[in-house]
Amino acid sequence: MKESLGANGLILNEPLLWEKGKKGRSGFSLPRRDVESSPPGQGLTCEGPDLPDLSEIDVVRHYTRLSQWNFGVDTGMYPLGSCTMKYSPKTNEKQANLAGFAGAHPLLPAALSQGVLRMMFELQQYLAEITGMDAATLQPAAGAHGELTGMLLIHAFHKSRGERRSKIIVPDTAHGTNPASAALCGYSPVSVKSNNQGILSVEAIAEVMDKNTAGIMVTNPNTLGLYEENIHKIAETVHAKGGIVYCDGANMNAVMGVARMGENGVDVMHLNLHKTFSTPHGGGGPGSGPVCVKKELEPFLPVPRVMEENGIYRLSEDFPESVGRMQAFHGNVGVMIKAYSYIRSMGPKNLKKASQLAVLNANYIKERLKGTLHLAYDRPCMHECVFSDEYQTAHKITTIDMAKRLMDYGFHPPTVYFPLVVHGSIMIEPTETESKEDIDQFIEAFKTIANEAGSNPDLLHDAPKRCKVRRLDETTAARKPCLAG
């Protein structure tokens, strides 16, 4: 085996911001005062906020040290299932920082914003093409925001036909945000179980679909990493009762150029630019969750919409049936620029290749680890595979112990305990940007850990040992919350 990635580095301690600094220091070049002072009226002002005073180098060292306690895709393999932690190309960051984009005010006349409007218009077209849909909005800020947008579109669609439906079908293999997004829109989610193959059966849907059900929220490929093979028939069943098919497209990285949801019976879906289209996750955001729709839902899309006529771009509010605005301005434009750059750098063939290699990597891991870990569904998978800790429970080792031990070997753990349909689940999504040798090293690490589970389980119980901190007391954190210093 190659030398392990795990090692002790030069990691420094660093206090909290307000435990540093001295009153009177500054890390900011205060702009020249070229007007006279004119203090506001009495009673309007305060002492000023209690923020620490720090020098520029205080701040630079603080955040440099903090950054070294973090692990990112640029550090190493980050196989979080359903999160698509692929490499985020550096040129995309550069494009988003171009002064013409970064300095743009959102409310100037369209004639002064042609460049960014063109980028948005073309990105909408690319996303519609990739999904096989008719139109797109870029306004939603994240995946869950896209789901909410989709639910609002479905609500507006039924309302326009004089209907108010109260339920929506959400399978047990859907993403965790789905029920909450549906509830925000007043729908009560109806849970449907996947079958023994890990996918939805037409019968299970037919049983619950009725005229009071607005539609279905299906994640395809689902959170078991499996393609919903019956999606066509399921869509027919839902449509027959006047329902709408929503697809959570968070897992689109599996099928770019291979399958288009528009041709799979889907009426509305969201994409995560921060998953499939390589924009970085930023430690939890900002993301971007565009929503693509079929013609019948287009009148309800959020406003303003980006329009084009003879090469001139403008924003239009002229859609009386629109659900309204999802954000104050036009969405997370900085994220859109990165996704646009990605699509333009990749082109159609490489996007398809990316999906093929993502699926190859996942199946390779599945095959090579399935003797070591219990494989929940032994079938060809898409972009991720789901194992469990069933083989390790005899040694009193659980999923979390193996996850923590992976850190000592220099890998970020996979998604754990999700999806809920598999007890003690370990959900691995390598993405296409991991090379075979990195994946081999990850597999070897997991095999070593499985051996340690039998020979020296305390190594796992005590893990991680090489991070800045050891396991943290999350129970006390929640019982006696300390949320500010």
């Binding site: 500054s26 997370n332 943290l472």
Partner: protein, 443 residues
């Protein structure tokens, strides 16, 4: 393609392990009728160098500072951002990590967000703040829904001087819920008219923005008392977080929730997003808060550390009964804000806020001397409303050609305010910029 590391030999050996002949055969579980038989109709790939040229050409087709002098704020403000902040924010350990589900490997993000929560709470005079929301508008919508949960009442009152686009977002969120949103009018001096509240029963929340959309400073103390008389929550909304470097903060004036836009704290404007939804509250509402929270705790050795906490409020645990559906938030923007607040510091932020205020006062005074009417005589921060002569639209268009944007026309948002413009001055506008604006609009 440089982002795809596989050689053809590696692909062949991996296919063998999987037991299929070629890449297409990996998709055997995708039924034939679900397959896309053609090639995607997308542009052919660009090299890195061609992409640079293509993107630069589009970026050039934009009107931005310093070439353009833009006197527009209205929720997106041009402020100087220190190079140190942009540089630190680009560190890929922060940029390429996920939501910190595995705290031992994410202490950098977690401590930084804990610090952001603390600095934000201090700026707003509140006890606690969330880890971030998408923008000021969605933070307001979520705050109003939170007030409905807390009070178990179904009606909210919202000032018509809250940013018009924020109110649009509130209506979008509220449309399917059946909850009622009542809009309150405004008085001649440019502040919210609270008289309609006198006959209003069963109010969950009263939301008022200060400085409001006209730039005027509202009497938060009085607003809070009105809300509390009705056992409603007082929600203080804002679009310009920097104003609290100088003005009394929401918490000191009785706000139960403070929510708004944090873009001014070191975040690029980027055509309006990504931005930063700040949301803070009193501690007693902690378990009703939407969104993520970072808390302090200890590790097995008793060492200080940080974790995501109170997750039982959240979508992945509570499912449809969660306090919000938010999952991915705007974490990196929160990090930018913390870095900015740390760089500017307590002393600096007060000076900077004062400079914004004083510059806006200078422009106001000069416009007055040039014979223009300042519509509302209420005190303002860095924005105010001016009335230009009838037919000013043509002059406005001419000024655009001279690369000068003379404010935001208010008529599309407030039809009664024809010829009225909202002007904004930050520290980025020099005296010369302002003098030339006055010369142009007065001529």
């Amino acid at each position: 393609m440089r982002y795809l590391p596989h050689t053809s030999e590696e692909i062949a050996s991996m296919l063998e392990v999987v037991g299929v002949d070629d890449l297409d055969s990996l998709f055997s579980t995708v039924p034939e009728e679900c397959r896309f038989p053609a090639d995607l109709d997308l542009p052919v790939p660009l090299t890195e160098w061609d992409l640079n040229a293509h993107m630069q050409a589009m970026a050039n087709d934009m009107a931005v500072s310093p070439e353009y002098k833009v006197f527009v704020g209205a929720g997106s403000y041009e402020h100087f951002v220190p190079a140190s902040v942009s540089y630190l924010l680009g560190r890929s350990e922060f940029v390429t990590s996920y939501t910190p589900y595995q705290p031992e490997m994410s202490q950098g993000t977690l401590q930084a967000i804990y610090e952001y929560q603390t600095l934000t709470a201090r700026l707003l005079g509140m006890e606690i703040a969330t880890a971030s929301h998408y923008d000021g508008a969605t933070a307001l919508a979520e705050s109003l829904l939170m007030a409905i949960r807390v009070t178990k009442r179904k009606r909210v009152a919202v000032s018509s001087l809250i940013h018009p686009l924020y109110r649009r977002v509130v209506h979008t969120y509220f449309e399917p819920t059946g909850y009622e949103v009542v809009e309150l009018g405004y008085l001649e001096n440019g502040v919210t008219d609270l008289t309609d509240l006198d006959n209003m029963e069963d109010l969950a929340a009263l939301a008022v923005q200060s400085p409001n959309f006209f730039g005027c400073i509202e009497d938060f103390q009085a607003v809070g008392e009105k809300a509390h008389d009705r056992q409603a929550l007082f929600i203080a909304s804002f679009t310009e977080a920097l104003s609290y470097g100088l003005l009394k903060n929401p918490g000191s004036q009785g706000a139960d929730i403070a929510c708004g836009e944090g873009q001014s704290m070191g975040i690029a404007q980027t055509f309006g997003g990504p931005a930063l939804g700040m949301l803070a509250s009193r501690k007693k509402y902690m378990r009703s808060l939407p969104g993520r929270l970072v808390g302090q705790t200890k590790d097995l050795d008793g060492k200080r550390g940080f974790v995501l906490t109170l997750a039982t409020r959240e979508q992945h645990i509570r499912r449809e009964k969660a306090t919000s559906n938010i999952c991915t938030n705007n974490s990196l923007c929160a990090l930018a804000a913390a870095m900015y607040m740390a760089s500017v510091g307590g002393t600096g932020i007060r000076e900077l806020a004062r400079l914004n205020h004083d510059k806006a006062e200078y422009l106001k005074k000069e416009l007055k001397s040039a014979g223009l009417a300042i519509t509302f005589d209420n005190p303002t921060f860095n924005e105010f409303v001016v009335e230009f002569p009838a037919g000013f639209q043509a002059a406005y268009e001419r000024l655009l050609e001279k690369k000068l944007v003379a404010g935001l026309p208010l008529a599309p948002y407030y039809p009664e305010l024809a010829n009225h413009y909202l002007l904004c001055v930050t520290e980025t506008r020099s005296k010369e910029d302002m003098d030339s604006l006055v010369r142009e609009v007065a001529s």
